[in-house]
């Protein structure tokens, strides 16, 4: 399909730790289409950030991509040399991180940092790069952009720093922006400003955005498609509207229900029992089975595959395969 920008196929990223191998990303496949806003959601430890870092090839030892392909416009990034990959970062795919303070160097002016990023990727003079940095600041609606070029990171507020990070990320005109919890460290009113900015950039520049977040509210307002991860796997993938209207995986259903939401009046919050198991001690079968309210004998046997539950909508759950047929449920093949 020509509208696919990034194709992740059976990606496996493992951390080789003292306690054994931790499969942080285990057989994850998905596409990012041109110009779309795709959300990757899940709780801490579900593998969403490691997936993003793998795409950027920024997983640090003891972590390693051990299998799969990451095709950007057909080219497999896993196969690229470090030098080629450096060109992909920034030119094709850029990333902004959660904590804008730690991503900026505190002893350099922000304008110089953005200009430096431009000069690494483009053959331009220092003067030219500074001019472009000013234009980027304007693009991300930093007030008084030329004056702000000479500020140091500590002189800027959290929201402004995140704008600088976005300016830097977009300075070489990438087609895909990976935003890893870009607003988690920010206050709600500032979060609203940054999300509004990202939405307008997506439209204006035809940018595809892979948004990594734990906040389903942001997903509902900002994204077209959503992927839900749990213990290093995709458990559900759907257009955002479908997922919120008809969540198919019990985990997704539990997540949506346990959300207190402005305007919803309930005495007690429904919860998901138990907690996310450590990746070193995952249960057999479906990884959600110890917490699942709909658990069936079959769920303890083999792990379910992603099953088709609707248009563009998949869920990794036996409730939705013919295997969930009541007659078969009585006699599971293997326990």
């Amino acid at each position: 399909m020509s509208d696919v920008l990034l194709e992740v196929k059976k990606l496996r990223t493992t951390f080789f730790t003292g306690d054994g191998e931790v499969h942080a990303v285990d057989n994850v496949s998905f596409d990012v289409r041109k110009g779309e806003a795709l959300a990757l959601v899940g709780e801490s430890g579900c593998g969403k950030s490691v997936t993003a870092m793998s795409i950027m090839r920024l997983v640090a030892p003891p972590g390693k991509i051990v299998g799969g392909e990451i095709r950007f416009k057909g080219r497999d990034l896993v196969e690229l040399s470090e030098k080629e990959m450096r060109k992909v970062r920034g030119d094709d795919i850029a990333m902004v991180f959660q904590e804008p303070m730690t991503s900026l160097n505190p002893v350099f002016k922000v304008g110089d940092q953005v200009a430096e990023a431009i000069r690494i990727h483009r053959k331009v003079s220092k003067k030219q790069a500074r001019k472009q940095a000013g234009e980027m600041f304007e693009l991300v609606s930093i007030p008084d952009p030329i004056k702000r070029l000479d500020d140091y990171p500590h002189q800027l507020s959290g929201g402004m720093r995140q704008r600088v990070m976005i300016a830097m990320a977009l300075s070489c005109d990438p087609e895909l922006l990976i935003a890893d919890e870009p607003t988690t460290a920010l206050d709600v009113t500032i979060q609203a400003q940054i999300m509004e900015l990202l939405a307008s950039l997506q439209k204006r520049l035809g940018l595809a955005i892979l948004l990594i977040t734990h906040d389903l509210g942001i997903v509902a307002e900002f994204c077209e498609r959503i992927i839900v991860m749990y213990t290093g796997r995709i458990v559900e993938e759907a257009p955002v509207r479908d997922l919120f209207a008809n969540p198919a995986h019990p985990y997704t259903r539990g997540l949506l229900r346990s959300l207190p939401s402005v305007g919803r009046d309930e005495k007690r919050l429904p919860t998901i029992t138990g907690m996310v198991p450590p990746l070193t001690a995952l249960p057999g079968g479906c990884k959600f089975n110890p917490r699942c309210p709909d658990v069936m004998p079959i769920c303890l046997g083999n792990e379910p595959a992603l099953m088709h539950v609707g248009d563009d909508h998949d869920a990794r759950c036996y409730l939705h395969g013919d295997l969930a047929d009541p007659e078969r449920m009585e006699q599971p093949k293997s326990i």
Partner: protein, 349 residues
């Protein structure tokens, strides 16, 4: 409704926003200024007005939610109430006793009745102490129990917060964030307090665990007749748990009202903007958003007049710049500090 625009002089006896029933805690004109020191002589060159004249009351058995963005002073209010930091001015009455006048040992004694749960369950538990020792520590400090009584009490407390009593021999690092927060709650409950300051107790937790801890806090409140001051920045969590909600901005209360009224019909433009900024987890709903200009000003040099006027979509000049709007009751139980409380936002821009 907006006739109270005489002077910035605070009224001598302002009406205190009070809940239903008996007042447990009464905070009047609380101020906390942090000095900014410079040079070898550490001269005070400026003051950060973290809390600048906050007045409210908490009734027995209710939950007062305290929301605000970073730097609004909400955490400082919580700590001043327990005198974990000393307030600069103002009065704090707990069950009729003026806390600011108490000596250190009297205050320590008072803290049996008032405890705090901190935000970060990773930083607030000593990693070198077993869970049993952590939970028993307040009992040791406040005395009056022998070893076996204490052990029994610790087991009872752990059970109360949904943890197995067997966990008392383990160390904090063996627990997940949600479990650690339960340990923090057990410790706070050890001395049988009447009042708990919950300072962002669920902010560090994942949603599925967050819901479990919120339910636990509500169950405990019912069982033990606790009164909560629930400090948080997450408006949906605060709406869920609170009886009344106070919204803070730059050290001042902007609006205080019964929960339903505040969320359904906020009077202060800041409350409105704040509520409209919360993303709703429902893709079929599209609300109009009031985008505030700019950032929160620094409390080192807060704007004069109404502290919100620099970002306010309905500010009118010169009044909002010159005159501090008092926190007054606009509707029964609904207090707002705004010269134009309730004015429509579109109309005024």
């Amino acid at each position: 409704m907006t006739g109270v625009v005489e002077q910035s002089v605070p009224q001598t006896t302002p009406t205190v926003p009070t809940g239903v029933g008996e007042t447990l805690l009464l905070v009047r004109d609380l101020k906390k200024y942090f000095p900014v020191k410079r040079g070898v002589l550490a001269r005070v060159v400026a003051e950060v007005k973290a809390v600048d004249g906050v007045t409210f009351a908490v009734s027995r058995g209710e939950t007062l939610g305290l929301v605000g963005e970073s730097g609004s002073g909400k955490t400082t209010v919580g700590r001043c109430i327990l005198r974990l930091i000393e307030p600069t001015a103002g009065s704090i009455e707990f069950e009729g006793v003026e806390l600011t006048q108490l000596g250190a040992s009297e205050m320590r004694h008072k803290r049996r009745d008032m405890q705090i749960v901190f935000q970060d369950p990773y930083a607030s538990l000593n990693p070198r102490m077993t869970v049993g020792t952590i939970v028993a520590e307040p009992l040791i400090i406040h005395g009056g129990m022998n070893n076996s009584e204490r052990a029994e009490r610790v087991a009872e407390l752990l059970e109360k917060v949904g943890l197995s009593p067997d966990y008392r021999r383990r160390y904090p690092h063996e627990f997940s964030g949600g479990q650690r927060q339960r340990i923090g709650v057990a410790r706070a409950l050890a001395t049988n307090p009447k009042f708990l300051v919950l300072d962002e107790p669920v902010s560090a937790l994942d949603v599925s665990v967050q819901a479990q801890v919120i339910n636990l806090l509500q169950d405990l409140q019912e069982d033990l007749h606790l009164t909560y001051l629930f400090i948080a920045h997450d408006l949906s969590v605060v709406e869920h748990i609170s009886t009344r909600v106070a919204v803070m901005y730059l050290g001042k209360i902007m609006e205080l009202a019964e929960r339903r009224a505040l969320y359904a019909d906020p009077l202060h433009p800041y409350t409105r903007a704040l509520l409209s900024a919360v993303p709703i987890p429902d893709p079929t709903q599209h609300k109009s958003r009031i985008l505030l200009k700019g950032d929160i000003p620094t409390p080192l040099n807060p704007p004069g007049g109404c502290v919100f006027h620099t970002r306010c979509p309905i500010a009118q000049f010169p009044i909002c710049k010159d005159v501090v709007p008092p926190l007054i009751e606009h509707k029964p139980g609904q207090f707002a500090a705004c010269h134009f409380a309730g004015a429509s936002i579109q109309q005024a821009t």
